[in-house]
Structure formats: structure tokens, C-alpha cells
Symmetry: C2
Subunit: 275 residues, 2 copies
DNA sequence: AACCAAGTTTCAATAAATGAAACTAAATGC
DNA sequence: GCATTTAGTTTCATTTATTGAAACTTGGTT
């Protein structure tokens, strides 16, 4: 992370810098906030552009993320995330609970939402999946942290920003740590308006047979519409769903493990009914 | 592409190799199909894993794509693709035509679908957007190629595989080139079951004010359900939509261009109503 | 016309990637 | 139970690519 990981690390840092912006960035903007010398940055940008990871607008001279990323991520999402595999389970859970469901995984120290079901509005995947949130003040985030091995947990706690989004936010490592112990003991976590006023949730971890944290699952609602107790009522369903996802994930995890019938997940990546 | 672009290029090649697989890959599998020497590949994999671009399963020792890609791609999709900006236009077009709509961009020599609307089934973004298709035998692909500057066009034609998906497929550079000339003259392209039996479409390019190809837009249907003539009837609507998308894209293209009111696109990347 | 800013190229010094081979660990065969 | 193969990891002298200061080019400004 801090160790630059050679040239590749630097290149990915540059990519990240471009990704942080909401708009195309010019060379000099990047140069200003980058440690790298002019010529180095220049060539990294060229390489990344060459590779399709960045796009360089000839007219304006500005760089933006390249579409190759979208293709790679589609693969990542469909082969490495829990989302495609969890889809039927999430559908069922959403129907059963009538509430908003989140499926998340850890991306470094942050929560990455890989899927979402909401009762009312239909799913809008790409605009929802791929979003990130803080780990220390969301239901799924805290719950995933709680079930991590101590060394990893410690490392990630150090990386949290502890910004107080609301007056409920656990804004110190100590408060968070106490909460994580409680979550681990209890088996599930809460969000009591710690990230956003009014928003509450109940979250459970998705654990592999070996106890490794695969992801997190939550039912979310607004306290004006649903009581925390009601959400807690969905705990059995949540836990059943989490277990079902973990089982499917185990089947998928490695070739020649489960004999056959695992290929259900495959989803043609080349677009049919093309246009 | 062939010129390895230094270490960064090699690393991205490795990433791509992992992405090609539907399942986690072991070190030796990658080694077998890679030109790279053992030690080099090994360290590249380490670096990429370190950086969160790959995930390494400690138990099985297999590599899969990392979730960091999903986050990056969400940014790429929402800041660099036409999709978020085109969304309202696509919605309107889908409603108006009652047919399946595709929005695509070029990713190297391939067509990358960044959004899709279908009349019946509701949208499933991530599972649709991000898919790729061949450029030489899809409506949007051929149409985008047709409006490219000759040098780029030539380069991309050379990169096509010319596999004959159907007996309608234009399976030589010559046939494709003739078709591209016709499309450029006519202003729009067709897919006459060239990629998939029964599937037909009419496609138009999305061009910037300067004539640069930003993307492609198509109405698609099955010949048993809709006649090509009917799809052609939607051409005015298609063209209007393409122009509208291009105009919105121009406003967005660069900072301090259009004074204000451009910020409509911004879409909080941090997930609210979190869970 | 002179100036300035942004971006691009050069080239010797330097740091990093390389890859052959040695090593370790675990699985498989005898 | 010991030898052998297979898969993955580490080492280190060699080679190669990256580096970065500075010079240069381009396009816009006063």
C-alpha cells in the first residue's frame, strides 16, 4: 500500500488518482498532486493510455478512465464477487422481508457494495454495485470487521478515518473495537444511524466453512418506516440466506472440488442478442 | 498492444489472463500459457495481489480478479462512459420504440456494451453492461468502425477475427470494408443476422461536434417478431437520441467549458442509505 | 514579437526487473 | 518409509528499463 510496489504500483496509483476525480484531468493537475517527476508521470500516463486503462482526449488533452476497466470489472464482478451467485438468494430475501437488502465485500479497508435489492425501486446495478462506504460505521462494514482475524482487523481499524457522520458514529478506534467484540459475540451487527440520520440496519457476516469472511449481508430501513425490532425479526432469514450464499460460494471456489453441476454460474460474457 | 509497454504492460497482460478465465487460476496454469519466466510472473502476481487487483486464495492457492477492479470500473462507468448521461435518453427511446436498445462504445477492437434497455425484461445492469461483442459483425460495431478516421479504421479491421458466426457474417476484411463505406454514406448500419441467427438491428453512430466517434446506438429485435423495415422506422428517433447524447457529452467533456448546470451528472459514489 | 505555460523528448545515471538455478514443501510413486 | 516428482518460492549476478534534470516544442497571451 505505502510500499510503492515498483513501477506497477506507481502506475496503479496514477490510475487511482484519475479515478478519484469526477472529471477528466489534465497532465499538470496530476503532476501537481503526484510525487512523481514530470517525465515519469508522463510515460506512465502514456503506457496506461496505450493499454486502454485510460483514455486521452486529443482535443482537450485530458485523461479519464478507459473502458477496458469496465470490461475487466464485469469479469471481476461475475467471477470473483459473490453477487451473481447470491442473486437468487437476495431476490428471495427481498421478497420475504420487503426491505432493502445490501450485499457487500471488503475492498481494502472499505466496504464495497456488490449488489442491492430495494423493495420499491427496481435494481439499477452498475449505478449501485461498485459503490463504496466506510467500514467503521455501516452495518455490513462493522460486521465483516468483527469476524476478521485479529491481525487483519487491527490493520483495517488503523486505516479507518473515523469521521463522525452523525452523532451516533463510533468515532474512535476504542469505541469501534468494543462494538466489534459485541458483534462477534452476538453474531450480528447493527447500524443505529451511525452513517446517515434515520437509517438503521441489521447485518450478518457471510462466512466460509473455515470461518473466513466472504462478505456481509444486511436489511436496511428508515426508522420512520420500520423499527429496529422489525428488522431484527428478519435475522433468521438473513442468517439462512448468508449460509446459503456461503455454501454456493464453497462449491464455486475451486475447480475439481464439487464434481459437476457447478457450471450454473457461467454467464456468457460475449453479448448475445447483440445489436 | 503487442509492444509489451514495459513492466506495466506485462502486469496488465497477466491481469487480463486471469480475467479470461471463468474460475480462479493457479500459478502454474498461468505460467504455462505465459511467455514470462517463472520468477517474473510470480512477482507480478504478488504485486497485483498486493494492489488489490487480484485476490489470492490462501487455501487453494488460486488467483482471481480483485474487487478493487469493481470499484475502479464503477468510477469508469459513471465518469467516462456515456451510460449515466445517456440513461434518460435511452429510457425515452425504449419507451418510444418498444424495442431493445443497446448503447455501446469501442474498447480497442471490440464493442463494449455500456447500457441496454429491453422492452419486456427489466434492466440488469452489471450483468449486461460490461459485456463485449465483435465489432465486425454487430450493428453498433460496424457503424462505429464506419465513422472512424481511416488510419484507426484500418488498424481495427486488422484486429478483427472474422469468425463466421452465421452464414450472413461478413467474414473477410474486403467485405467488411465495402460495408463500412456503405454505412458511412448512408449514415446508419444494419445487422442482418450476422452475429446471431434471427437477430436484426439498425444502428447509428454517436458523433461529437468534431465528428469523433463517441459510441453507437441501436434498436434490436428478432426477425420473427419485428421486420427490419419497422426498425428502420425508428431511425429518426435513433438519430435524435444519438444527437442528444452527443450534446450532453460535449457539455460534460471538459471543466470550465459550459459555465454551470453541468453538475447534474454527479452521482455520489459513496453509498448512502448504506446498510 | 517576445513571452509564458503546458506538454514532450533526450540521455547519462541509476534503480529495478530479469531469469537461471537453487531451494523448500507437499504430494505421489515405489 | 524413502525416493521422486510437482508446485511454489527465494536468491543473486546480470541486464534492462526507469529515472529525472534539462532542453526542446507547441500553442496560446500580452
Amino acid at each position: 500500500m505505502t510500499a510503492t510496489d515498483g513501477t506497477v504500483g506507481k502506475a496503479l496509483d496514477v490510475l487511482e488518482k484519475v479515478a478519484e476525480r469526477d472529471r477528466p484531468v489534465r497532465f499538470s493537475d496530476l503532476l501537481a498532486e503526484s510525487e512523481l517527476p514530470k517525465a515519469t508521470l508522463y510515460r506512465l500516463l502514456q503506457t496506461l493510455t496505450n493499454q486502454g486503462m485510460l483514455r486521452h482526449d486529443a482535443e482537450t488533452g485530458a485523461y479519464s478512465l478507459g473502458v477496458r476497466l469496465v470490461r475487466l470489472a464485469h469479469r471481476a464482478w461475475s467471477t470473483a464477487s459473490l453477487a451473481p451467485l447470491a442473486r437468487p438468494h437476495l431476490d428471495a430475501l427481498a421478497r420475504q422481508t420487503g426491505q432493502t437488502i445490501h450485499l457487500a465485500q471488503l475492498d481494502t479497508a472499505q466496504v464495497l457494495y456488490v449488489d442491492k435489492r430495494s423493495a420499491e425501486t427496481p435494481v439499477e446495478m452498475f449505478s449501485q454495485a461498485g459503490k463504496i462506504g466506510p467500514a467503521y460505521c455501516t452495518g455490513v462494514g462493522k460486521t465483516m470487521l468483527a469476524f476478521l482475524p485479529v491481525d487483519q482487523q487491527d490493520r483495517l481499524i488503523q486505516q479507518q478515518s473515523f469521521h463522525a457522520f452523525t452523532d451516533q458514529t463510533l468515532d474512535t478506534p476504542e469505541r469501534l473495537r468494543a462494538e466489534l467484540v459485541a458483534i462477534a459475540a452476538r453474531g450480528h451487527g447493527y447500524d443505529r444511524e451511525e452513517h446517515e440520520p434515520g437509517i438503521i440496519c441489521v447485518a450478518v457476516p457471510i462466512l466460509s466453512a473455515g470461518g473466513r469472511v466472504l462478505g456481509g449481508l444486511s436489511v436496511t430501513g428508515h426508522k420512520d418506516h420500520v423499527a429496529l425490532a422489525t428488522l431484527e425479526g428478519h435475522l433468521p432469514a438473513l442468517k439462512t440466506t448468508a449460509r446459503a450464499i456461503a455454501e454456493d460460494a464453497a462449491d464455486w471456489a475451486f475447480p475439481e472440488r464439487g464434481s459437476e453441476a457447478v457450471m450454473t454460474r457461467r454467464e456468457e460474457d460475449t453479448c448475445r442478442e447483440s445489436g
